[in-house]
């Protein structure tokens, strides 16, 4: 019985938090809002890749760091708290997806080392989330087939050289590898609320071969769960940062000749967020462990973490904005950046209602 971070995990978390504080700030994110997309400069991108984190939760045989999934979640958490672009999380997921799909090791090596960006395309313009609402069905022939249709909300699609496109094949769902520069591919920026990259991927008779087909339904489910839990981690880090910022401000800001944090109307709202952050952290660790151990409850716990963190992320940022008063409502303060990021992530890969429905189906299942 030990349900706590290892020394390595604590060290990695501290390292990433420190890295974010040194190399990144809200100003970078603000720039992205004025000149979309928010982008990591080339040199910094190199440094991020050199940290060697993209493959941290892959087996050592696959060229990874041999760490559990939770270590990736901690990195996503630190990145989320530091308003760092989603490319880091996207790549953590892409590496994991390629590994699960047994993709060619040279390809995987390129992604882990940061030489190639792979984006994952799941959602379609039907107003729904989840693998169950995928309708994109390729025309198959003997050696492969053709893809026509569109995917939307593809994170970091502006930077991707390759897309993993989730589609319905005769044997069930799978990823199809589509190059960004393939004939028939059109990429349109969708401009996420927080200035980050999301795109619409339009495909018209895009040719793919048999070995461009990767994974199966079970693997796609796993990828969806892993990605969901990392976004939940991002939301947790975001809330934690807002809580820290707002607590610091409440200690300094004087009104009625005393710090506003000494008023219970202020203090209790911050205490409530602290409680929700602790519960969120517990859910995050629980979900990562369940995924790692392939527990029957894994999907329900992932959904629990995402539903909780959606609400936490948005509530923390809105509360932070309110408790900062006038200054909280300015463009200069980072709070609205946190709020934009939380609002966007809270509707990425499923809102709270969607994930509560997934939990409910677990509770209704005969195994429960």
């Amino acid at each position: 019985m030990h349900f706590e971070l290892s020394e390595e995990q604590n060290a990695i978390y501290d390292l990433v938090v420190g890295f974010m504080a040194d190399k990144w700030s809200g100003d970078n994110r603000r720039q992205g809002l004025d000149s979309y997309p928010c982008q990591i400069p080339g040199e910094l991108l190199r440094e991020v890749a050199d940290l060697g984190f993209y493959g941290i939760s892959l087996d050592e045989n696959s060229g990874g760091g041999g760490e559990p999934l939770l270590t990736s979640a901690l990195i996503a958490e630190a990145a989320g708290g530091g308003l760092f672009p989603s490319l880091l999380t996207t790549t953590l997921v892409a590496a994991k997806a390629l590994d699960l799909c047994d993709a060619d090791s040279n390809w995987l090596a390129k992604v882990i080392s940061g030489q190639q960006t792979v984006a994952i395309a799941i959602e379609e313009p039907n107003g729904c989330w989840g693998l169950d609402s995928i309708e994109l069905t390729p025309q198959m022939d003997g050696q492969g087939g053709y893809l026509s249709g569109s995917k939307i909300l593809v994170s970091d699609g502006d930077f991707a050289q390759v897309f993993l496109v989730a589609a319905l094949l005769p044997d069930g769902p799978a990823f199809i590898r589509v190059n960004a520069n393939a004939e028939g591919v059109e990429i349109n920026s969708m401009r996420r609320l927080d200035g980050q990259s999301i795109v619409e991927l339009e495909m018209k008779d895009v040719r793919f071969e048999q070995d461009d087909v990767l994974g199966d339904g079970a693997i796609l489910n796993q990828v969806y769960d892993i990605w969901t839990v990392l976004i939940a981690a991002d939301l947790l880090g975001n809330a934690q940062s807002v809580l820290r910022m707002t607590t610091d401000y409440a200690k300094e800001r004087q009104q009625f000749a005393r710090p506003i944090g000494s008023f219970q109307a202020v203090a209790h709202r911050l205490a409530d967020i602290q409680v929700d952050v602790e519960i969120g952290r517990s859910l995050l660790y629980g979900a990562c462990l369940a995924l790692e151990e392939e527990s029957d409850e894994a999907t329900a716990l992932v959904s629990a973490a995402k539903a909780w963190m959606n609400d936490l992320g948005v509530n923390a940022a809105e509360t932070g904005l309110q408790l900062h008063g006038g200054i909280g409502y300015t463009w200069e303060l980072d709070i609205h950046l946190h709020l934009r990021q939380a609002r966007s992530n809270a509707v990425t890969l499923g809102d709270s209602k969607y994930h509560r429905a997934r939990v409910a189906s677990h509770l209704m299942s005969p195994e429960y």
Binding site: M1, H268, A307, M364
Partner: protein, 394 residues
Amino acid sequence: MDLKFSPQDEQYRERLRAWLDVNLKQHQAVSKAGDVEPVQAARDWQKTLCEGGYLGLSWPREYGGQEASLTQQVVVSEELARSGAPAPINTIGISILGPTLIQHGSEEQKQRYLPKILNGEELWCQGFSEPGAGSDLASLQTRAVAEGDHFVVNGQKVWTSLGMIADWCFLLVRTNPGAPKREGISYLLCNIKTPGITVRPLRNAGGGSHFCEMFFDDVRIPRENLVGEVNGGWHIARSTLDNERSGLSGVISIENSLDRLLQISASLNRGKERAIDSDSVQQQLAQLWIEKEGLKYLGFRNLSDQIANRPPGPAASVGKLFASRLRQKIGKAGFDIAGPLAQVGKKSPHSIARGRLQAMYFDSLGYSIGGGTSEIMQNIIAEKVLGLPRSYED
């Protein structure tokens, strides 16, 4: 990271399950037959637990304890909660007074009181709160004046759980009214049969009457019943207040309530469908499950801290605050799910689950008051965890 217990702990769990299978059934049969008076039956059950070696797990052997490992303590609280076994009737004595005496009592006091706390021979209640001293407990006014080898006590205590059946009471009294409020309090052990004590039951909002008010009128308590030093009582009481809620038994009891609610919603019809088939009910139940899981994994984190000998500290307030809110959400959800019949009394044939939901609701309302109100928990978190300035004069 893993949530597994050692094979030894699992064997211990198996033995306890087998033991419960026999002994709990026996106790339930006796209770159901109704031949034994309920308080006596509860005392007997505690004695059975004690003789089985499942009480006082952390206590030293010389006073009847088991000196069991922390994980064994967790296994016992888990299994007792899971089996639906009643808590030992002397819970207040076991969880609050026992650890206090072990830490601060004299050798005579330990030998005199601890074994009888465990086997249920002497039931204890706690005399802390007063009409004027609730959240601000340190402002208590019950006076104790030293007279020869006695203290003479005058005052009133309130919200005394088990006061009607207890044999003894541990008391906080003011021994130095001139000193700062925390420096003038002493900790006394008082036999409830002592002349001058009047106990009156108070009915709680749910209709039950498990707490009381106690009046002290020139009550003479022997000096040997003082725990620790004169005027040192506040710090003694504080040191065991944080001790209270460890382990996962609270979560399991919440889990049991939630499971009951799930079963009831599957058996209730609302219009043409079962209550549980409605979207909004599913959303509500899912949210409760999510929060229950959050509390459970928070419990695992706290437990890991304890195993690694890291003190729980103010983080315990997080669990207490969240757990009481969750109990209340479950209680309220019961009313939502029951719909129009939620209001029907338990003795009516139309009542739902013989009033269980109503009882669950009223029970839940006490959790955010007893043992420190939720607002006090928020203060503690704001001050001790977030480091915000104190919000009130003290």
